[in-house]
């Protein structure tokens, strides 16, 4: 058989089967485009501020996309080739040798690959600039996007998809070689056994889902949340698959047992149809469900983090520039303060200069006990503020007697009568006060309790007023701050060298610049959101495609059934109603489950988010609401479009 004919056949086959091949090519183009983009972004932002974060994200992104592409393209390829079994069988029957069919299949795969690669890379290069601009906008970087075609990325993209091509060709050839022509022709007509529900699997599914949910809801603190997050995710995934495959069938069979429910024209056909549908589609629907949950959780959390960034910076860095000093004596603190004051005056002053002392340590476990009935956490930090500092920072003039303290937590107020700290019991004074939090504590992932105590009582907590206290000096100023800070730093170096060495002292200090950190954080979180959007759209694309292919396959399978139903005396309206019932249930089940998953993920995600950067609860809810709404809308649109394709197939020639 000569090459031109094979080539012509391959080309025709792709065109003729466009119902299957078109979405497949589209997927290839999409994944190629994304792969190129992620890779090219990594190259194009080389040397930019915050580039290291984005680059490491993009490496993760690239890995996710690569793994995903392999799995997903193989899945769709399998689907396409399965639909064509009969056609391939026919070629053999008509006298083509198996080697010819193989050649033809290989040619087809190569043609589709080449087409997708060219278009995918072209679109990728085209969109790369837009992507970079979006990224820069999210990162609040003003510089115009540098834009160049990355040869390296083209090569690596081609390599990744070349490998995938080889795998698909391999699996297709195996498929052709292993089956004889009659098998190929009859492949689609294999009779189906009635699905059986496995009680064990249903139970396993129920147990893992419930324990996953339980874990998420009862998680105690951030550290546990981070540790258990993937365990919970894993359990929920297992639970979803088990319940979709076995639980759903068990449930439907239970309904079927109820004779008076089952033998109603409304339920009769849909119910038994659904049992079969669930059997064939359980895994696919599970995929859709998991992917949708991922989209929702990723987008929710990245958006919340991103939107919370300003408030976070404000909390974490209350001043434009701040110094933290640790373990300096009272005298040393004084000379530090005067040195800084001097330098500021020399450089033209600042808008605002604040200073306060505090003491922080991790709580002993028995001390935590007394607080435990309030917050069920294993790790607690405590920050002791001398009353003088507290009054100064909050502009109040509260006075405390010997045994009295003020008590509050970083994020919430605390209702407690008395508190035992380091062996001494204090009365908690109940008055209205404005909480004040040390900026640095916002970065702590655990809860931090604040104890305000009269300066004279510090001794009773074994705190040496002279050496144990930390010291903060912060200043706000306009643009000339940089020069001031430079000269302060210079004089601090000479100053601290002159302090006498105390025994066992490990005094140190550091300064932090709000603007520098803001840029850093923006790069970090902007990149985070970017990746979130990126992966979100990737998973979305997968969801769309799975749904589309499902509808098409089912359309062909159901066609015959509905023909029979019409012959036996079901009218068109009833047929349509039945189709709608089935399709609706099958396609909105994963969406509903995904939304439930997302709700249960909330407590855990909230804890983790509060560690990274707490956006407010309302903000998270708002994000979740908007994103879920958009998602449902998109999902419904896809459903509508594909259901149309489905009904068209079913009604063909009836």
């Amino acid at each position: 058989m000569n090459k031109p004919i094979l080539f012509k056949l391959a080309r025709q086959n792709i065109k003729k089967n466009s119902r299957y091949t078109f979405p497949y090519i589209l997927t290839c183009i999409g994944t190629i485009m994304m792969t190129y983009n992620v890779s090219a972004i990594r190259d194009n932002i080389e040397g930019m501020w915050g580039a290291q974060y984005i680059q490491s994200y993009m490496v993760i992104g690239l890995m996710v996309i690569a793994i995903f592409s392999v799995v997903f393209l193989l899945y769709t390829n399998r689907f396409v080739i399965n639909q064509r079994q009969k056609e391939l069988g026919l070629y053999t029957v008509l006298g083509m040798e198996k080697s010819h069919v193989c050649m033809m299949v290989i040619l087809e795969s190569c043609l589709m690959f080449l087409l997708s690669l060219i278009i995918g890379l072209f679109l990728g290069i085209l969109f790369n600039k837009a992507m970079l601009m979006l990224l820069f906008k999210l990162m609040h970087v003003s510089q115009a996007a540098r834009f160049s075609i990355s040869i390296q990325s083209i090569i690596s993209t081609t390599a990744i998809f070349g490998t995938i091509l080889c795998i698909t060709i391999f699996s297709n050839v195996i498929n052709v070689v292993r089956k004889n022509p009659i098998d190929l022709i009859h492949a689609q007509n294999e009779g189906e056994k009635e699905p059986k529900s496995n009680i064990l699997i249903t139970l396993i599914g129920l147990i893992s889902l419930i324990s996953g949910y339980y874990m998420a809801v009862t998680v105690k603190d951030v550290i546990n949340a981070v540790l258990l997050f993937f365990v919970a995710v894993f359990l929920v995934i297992i639970g979803t698959y088990c319940l979709f495959t076995s639980g759903s069938i068990a449930f439907l069979k239970l309904l079927k047992k109820n004779k008076h429910y089952y033998y109603k024209s409304k339920h009769f056909v849909s119910l038994s149809g659904l049992i079969y549908r669930m059997k064939q589609n359980a895994v696919g629907l599970g995929n859709i469900c998991i992917l949708s949950t991922m989209v929702l959780v990723i987008l929710n959390s990245t958006l919340t983090i991103y939107l919370g960034v300003d408030r976070n910076i404000r909390n974490r860095y209350p001043n434009d520039y701040g110094y933290y000093f640790r373990n300096y004596s009272a005298n040393e603190r004084e000379s530090i303060y005067s040195t800084i004051e001097n330098e500021i005056e020399k450089n033209g002053g600042v808008d605002n200069l604040v200073s306060y002392t505090f003491y922080d340590y991790l709580m002993e476990s028995d001390e935590i006990q007394t607080l435990n009935h309030l917050f069920n956490e294993e790790y607690l930090g405590i920050t002791v503020l001398p009353l003088s500092s507290f009054n100064k920072m909050t502009n109040q003039s509260i006075s405390l007697s010997e045994n009295e303290i003020l008590l509050y937590e970083k994020y919430h107020s605390v209702n407690l009568q008395e508190l035992t700290l380091r062996g001494k019991t204090f009365q908690v004074k109940d008055i209205r006060y404005t909480p004040f939090v040390v900026g640095r504590d916002y970065a702590d992932i655990s809860s931090t309790y604040y104890v305000v105590i009269d300066d004279s009582q510090l001794d009773s907590l074994n705190i040496n007023k002279d050496t144990d206290l930390s010291y903060y000096i912060g200043m706000d100023s306009g643009e000339s701050l940089g020069k001031t800070v430079d000269s302060i730093t210079q004089s601090l170096i000479t100053l601290t060298e002159n302090f006498e060495e105390r025994e066992g002292s490990n005094s140190w200090y550091y300064g932090e610049d709000k603007e520098v950190n803001r840029e850093d954080v923006m790069a970090l979180y902007g990149g985070f959101l970017f990746l979130g959007i990126f992966l979100g759209s990737l998973f979305m694309m997968a969801t769309v495609l799975i749904i589309y292919y499902k509808q098409i396959t089912e359309g062909f399978q159901d066609k015959k059934r509905f023909e029979i139903l019409q012959k036996v005396g079901m009218d068109r309206k009833e047929v349509k109603q039945t189709i709608n019932d089935q399709v609706l249930m099958v396609f909105f089940l994963p969406l509903l489950t995904a939304i439930i998953h997302t709700c249960f993920a909330y407590p855990m995600v909230k804890k983790i988010l509060s560690a990274i950067a707490l956006g407010s609860v309302q903000q998270y809810f708002l994000c979740a609401l908007i994103i879920t709404f958009c998602f449902v809308l998109i999902y419904a649109c896809i459903y509508k479009l594909t259901a149309h394709a489905y009904i068209k197939i079913v009604e063909e020639k009836i």
């Binding site: 009779g191 189906e192 056994k193 009635e194 004779k259 008076h260 033998y263 109603k264 024209s265 009769f268 038994s272 149809g273 049992i275 079969y276 059934r561 029979i564 139903l565 019409q566 012959k567 036996v568 005396g569 079901m570 009218d571 068109r572 309206k573 009833e574």
Partner: protein
């Protein structure tokens, strides 16, 4: 009055492009009395399946009228058709047309469920049927677990459960081996003895020889009729066979 009257029946297909017309049915006139067992024979393309589809209200006439118990089928409204089919007609097809998603019992009950009958009535109706058709053993199995003969029995049960005025059978033995064919035909005869009217389309002489009357259709017209009278099945078989030979070899003109 006859149960079924077909008068001046015409069916013309027009090619989708161009205006070439094909006359599938030209001028069909016949009637079926209550309790009759009629076979329609003819070669492929003679128009017999078209005729059956029209009787089944699955296809529409180009001209003429069909009366079932005095009601004109051609005047039925689209939305009433499904219900009419369900309540007045029973179908047996060559390829059984059973649904794999239902077990045999549910397949049989399907028309009753669609007619919104109560569960109690369903049970009352299905019991004597399973006994008569000897399908008690397979009633809870699935169609894919059954042989062709068993499947066709289920299909017959489905056709009979609505107590239809007339059973329309389209090549009911076409996909069966000889043993199953024999037992199915016997079953048809028995059902007919109980008063069930049957109209069967076939090109199997054997199947037709069990009927009381055989009509031959050729090129869209009823060409010839044979009544069994008091002939045995074997004799009738011979007669049909002879008629067919004449029909196919010389179009009825004796040279």
């Amino acid at each position: 009055m006859s149960l079924l009257e077909v008068k001046r029946c015409k069916k013309t297909y027009t090619a989708r492009f161009g205006n070439q017309q094909v006359h599938a049915l030209k001028n069909i006139n016949f009637s079926v009395e209550e309790g009759e067992y009629v076979a329609i024979m003819g070669e492929s393309g003679s128009g017999k399946t078209t005729l059956l589809n029209i009787l089944a209200t699955l296809d529409k006439l180009s001209g003429g009228e069909i009366l079932l118990n005095g009601n004109d089928l051609t005047k039925l409204k689209e939305k009433d058709m499904a219900a009419f089919r369900r309540e007045n007609l029973g179908f047996v097809f060559q390829d059984f047309n059973l649904l794999d998603t239902f077990n045999n019992k549910d397949n049989i009950l399907l028309p009753l469920v669609l007619s919104k009958k109560s569960v109690k009535e369903m049970n009352e109706r299905i019991k004597p049927l399973t006994k008569k058709l000897a399908i008690e053993d397979i009633i809870n199995k699935y169609p894919y677990e059954c042989s062709g003969g068993q499947k066709q029995r289920i299909a017959v049960a489905r056709a009979l459960i609505t107590k239809p005025q007339i059973v329309l059978a389209d090549e009911p033995t076409g996909a069966l081996d000889s043993k199953s064919t024999d037992s199915l035909l016997e079953m048809f005869e028995e059902v007919n003895k109980d008063g069930q009217t049957i109209l069967m389309v076939t090109h199997s002489v054997k199947a037709a020889s069990h009927a009381k009357r055989v009509m031959f259709i050729k090129d869209g017209e009823i060409f010839y009729q044979l009544y069994r009278g008091s002939l045995t099945t074997e004799k009738f078989y011979q007669k049909i066979s002879d008629t067919l030979t004449i029909l196919t070899s010389g179009g009825g003109e004796i040279e």
